[in-house]
Symmetry: C2
Subunit: 163 residues, 2 copies
């Protein structure tokens, strides 16, 4: 993670892409969302979706996996260059999580995160607060998922002590 | 699913409870949230969480599983009584998903959903819109997760035709 001072509103990070295979869609659904149209092609064909598609929770969890991998790779690269790595807090929640279109079997979703706001934390002055909009876009350019979140990001410079 | 006319603001449904075992926490994390404090007790003990805890996405997905199972059981019971079952639409999103406290290994979370608003759909007059607040509460009575959502629920009576 970059330090708060290096972040700019409008910065975009491409987190990665994930292809939702029929097998992975069904495996997730069996465990966490066993609605028939997420587990069987014929049932899906008869449903309002018309074909096998991923649980919305699968679309979200796949993004989390890409985020963890991307962040780890970036941190390892920074450490290899001898650079410090900023601490960041856990996400405390999401706002406006939207499943805008089904993610059908075989589709590849590209996830991107844009910084939409930055401000210094009032409660934890060692940290800034980064607000982001994350979207997942399919191979046709259609957005399938979006959500906003706010994360604590470490500041490079400690705040001046009050005298 | 009950029909829209049978729903009341303030109605509460207990969806079910789920115990987060260390094994299930680690299995979910390996697949979808491989941060070290979700996969290893010793790493977790050194982290800001202090002990192994579930990915927030796991806490959410476990609710989805309980919802699907509870809804299916209710629908099968209704059909066994010869009652009609209302159609309901897929959730199109969530608002204000909050992970309020960690869910530590061994904790049991009780999920409840309260109807907070009801209105007839403007765009789909065969349906009503049900807005709900879902919470997950641990064995100490502390809320660990909450979110709001809105779902289409079929109306029993078709709307009168315009003359």
């Amino acid at each position: 993670m970059s330090f708060f001072e290096e972040l700019l509103v409008g910065d975009v990070v491409m987190t990665g892409r994930h292809t939702f295979t029929p097998e992975s869609i069904k495996a997730f659904a069996r465990r966490f969302d066993p609605q028939r149209f997420h587990m069987d092609e014929e049932e899906a064909a008869r449903s309002h979706f018309g074909a096998l598609c991923a649980s919305g929770w699968h679309t979200a969890a796949a993004w989390m996996r890409l985020l963890v991998d991307a962040r780890r790779a970036a941190e390892e690269a920074a450490r290899a260059r001898g650079e410090a790595v900023a601490a960041s807090g856990p996400a405390l929640g999401l706002r406006n999580l939207k499943w805008l279109r089904p993610v059908y079997a075989g589709e590849t979703i590209d996830y991107r995160t844009e910084i939409t706001a930055l401000r210094v934390s009032g409660s934890k002055p060692r940290f800034g607060l980064m607000t982001t909009l994350t979207t997942g876009v399919n191979q046709d350019g259609a957005t399938v998922i979006s959500f906003e979140s706010t994360t604590f990001v470490e500041r490079r410079l400690p705040p001046a002590k009050a005298s």
